[in-house]
């Protein structure tokens, strides 16, 4: 690849007590691609993602966003830098409405005195923006944008979380197991969402255990093993079997795959 990566990490180390979760780990994400991150349980996928999204602080190593070194102390700082994460738990508040959830932490206040002094929220504008984002992603089957999130199905909730990330993520969107809790039909919907985001040029990091899903949407696959990047494989030239073999240590990557 001749392009500059959007996001790179070099030599990341993260220890929890005597356990080394990240052991000199590297990571590259290129513009406009879907990069899948796969790995066995305990391989350190979550730590890698948390390090990038600001949820944990690394002990050593360097992360660069668009060439500039970054160090996030909280997910909030990562968000402000343009990295949005869709967590496996979705991080939605069930009793709040779709609009409220989409704008949590970055609400729009009214213009003028009402907004400046009385901090009054501009519900109309937030609703309009939320509606726009949801229709862009083909999610407008939701009739009432003010209904509480707890009244939505699992797939619709995932849709709201993805729409939130898509609406505000300006540089990178990270998705942690977005299809893990979903049925066949709903998974399909989320995969379409991911493709839709990619078409709009958004680089996406996808963490998943579901090989068919990974092989369907990913441009490259980052195989994580024992706290580091074992190799990066091309889904067009490798089989799911290869991926699982690398991931579990049944097979060592050859020259072609070595990252």
């Amino acid at each position: 690849m001749t392009q500059e990566p959007v996001l790179t990490a070099r030599g990341l180390v993260k220890r929890y007590g005597r356990v080394t979760a990240l052991d000199n780990c590297d990571f590259d994400l290129y513009p406009g691609e879907v990069l899948a991150v796969i790995g066995d349980n305990g391989a350190g996928k979550s730590s890698l993602i948390k390090a990038i999204s600001g949820a944990v602080q690394i002990d050593a190593g360097e992360i660069r966003l668009e060439g500039k070194p970054i160090s996030f102390r909280s997910p909030l700082e990562a968000r402000d830098a343009g990295i949005e994460t869709v967590y496996q738990t979705l991080a939605l508040s069930p009793a709040l409405s779709i609009v409220d959830n989409m704008f949590v932490g970055r609400e729009i206040v009214k213009d003028g005195v009402l907004g400046r002094t009385f901090r009054m929220l501009d519900h109309k504008r937030m609703e309009a923006m939320a509606r726009e984002k949801l229709s862009e992603l083909g999610l407008m089957t939701i009739q009432n944008i003010n209904q509480p999130v707890e009244t939505l199905s699992g797939g619709q909730r995932q849709g709201v979380a993805v729409a939130r990330a898509a609406a505000f993520g300006s540089k990178v969107v990270i998705m942690d197991e977005p299809t893990a809790a979903l049925g066949v039909k709903e998974s399909r919907r989320v995969l379409e969402l991911i493709k839709g985001l990619k078409e709009r040029g958004m680089p996406i990091v996808l963490i998943s255990h579901n090989m068919p899903h990974v092989f369907e949407v990913a441009d490259r696959i980052h195989v994580h093993r024992l706290g580091k990047r074992l190799c990066v494989i091309d889904p067009k030239s490798h089989s799911m079997n290869d991926a699982v073999a690398f991931m579990t240590g049944a097979k060592e990557p050859g020259e072609a795959e070595a990252a």
């Binding site: 909030l76 991080a91 508040s93 709040l96 949590v104 399909r188 068919p212 092989f215 079997n241 290869d242």
Partner: protein, 358 residues
């Protein structure tokens, strides 16, 4: 490497989706009237206390007649609930954030004693004493908030502890002696500002009642029309989700406890006008009474659900029951008995509403 494309893609299992049933949820759409009611209440949790309040007022009006259903008595009820009402407003903030505050009344009495001591014994101008009481209330709330967030203690235990601490301070400062009404009149009548009355016909509306309504309106606005308020609900609903969604939950909770403390400081000022004197033993049950009002008002003890206006109706329901039963000639012990059932029924209804199926 050597595998063919069929192997790579795995077995196809989705092509049959095209012919699948397109209706997303195919429930039998027959809501029983009970289920419909459950849905309506789920969307409008304040409806229950409103209905109960209206029904109770009508029933006691029929039973106790003129004596209950007069402008004088109805406004008297409002006066009687005004202090617990303001405390319930503070309590609502805490409960919405999935906490509980057993120290609200203790903060209030302590601040009333401080204000009284400053002005009556030490001759400090009353407006300054009031400011000290308000700031002191906020500081006491801040202390609760810091213990809950920074020391990570459960709110119940934290405020159980601070209840005793504030109560002991209050006894120490006051020497367990009341400050007499006449002494306040003499040196600091401003402390009794909220005891002033507006009379319209038989109705007697105190400034304290107006203050209670203003407190509720202001907090309702903050909770529903500002980002801060939405965050209170989000934190109470699911703290971890709120944190991941980008809310600084600790800072949020500290502000909630501090604001609740400030409201207790406001209640302290109002209580001097309501009671007349300043007694260190007054409102000993106020902590629990404020929780009663909140619960009867349909606000979930588990946080994140309910409207603050419910707490106002909850306080009024308690007042209406007490007044109605008294005027109907029922012994005090049965008033207490009735309030007990109200609490249990209110929580049972909340549980039932939460089980709503979509």
């Amino acid at each position: 490497m050597t595998d063919d494309s069929a192997n790579r893609g795995g077995q196809d299992y989705e092509s049959s989706l095209a012919e699948s049933d397109k209706s997303v949820a195919s429930f039998a759409r027959t809501h029983t009237p009970i289920e419909t009611l459950q849905h309506v209440l789920h969307g409008n949790p304040t409806l229950v206390p409103v209905i109960v309040l209206i029904a109770a007022t009508i029933i006691f009006g029929l039973v106790a007649g003129e004596r209950f259903f007069s402008a004088f008595n109805l406004t008297l009820i409002m006066q009687q609930v005004s202090i617990i009402g303001i405390l319930a407003a503070a309590q609502t903030l805490i409960i919405l954030s999935a906490g509980i505050d057993l120290s609200v009344a203790a903060i209030m009495v302590l601040m009333a004693v401080i204000a009284g001591k400053l002005s009556v014994d030490l001759g400090v101008p009353a407006p300054i004493s009031v400011l000290v009481a308000l700031a002191g209330g906020a500081a006491a709330g801040l202390m609760n908030g810091l213990l809950v967030t920074k020391a990570k203690l459960p709110p119940f235990i934290t405020t159980l502890g601070t209840w005793s601490i504030f109560y002991a301070l209050n006894l120490w400062l006051s020497g367990a002696q009341s400050i007499r009404s006449s002494d306040i009149d003499e040196s600091a009548p401003f402390l009794k500002f909220f005891g002033n009355v507006i009379e319209i016909g038989g109705a007697r509306i105190t400034f304290g009642v107006i203050l209670m309504v203003l407190v509720f309106v202001a907090l309702w606005y903050m909770l529903n029309k500002t980002a801060w308020g939405r965050h209170v609900y989000a934190v109470g609903d699911d703290k971890e989700a709120a944190e991941l969604a980008g809310i600084r939950t600790d800072r949020m909770l500290i502000s909630v406890y501090a604001l609740a403390g400030l409201v207790c400081g406001i209640a302290a000022w109002a209580s001097i006008g309501r009671v007349g004197s300043i007694s260190p033993q007054a409102f000993y049950e106020g902590n629990l009474q404020s929780i009663t009002a909140v619960v009867i008002g349909g606000i979930s003890l588990f946080g994140g659900r309910g409207s603050i206006l419910g707490a106002l109706f909850g306080a009024l329901i308690v007042g209406v029951f007490q007044s109605g039963l008294r005027l109907a000639g029922v012994d005090v012990l049965w008033q207490v008995f009735a309030i007990g059932w109200l609490i249990i029924i209110a929580v049972a209804i909340d549980q039932w509403i939460r089980k709503v199926s979509v």
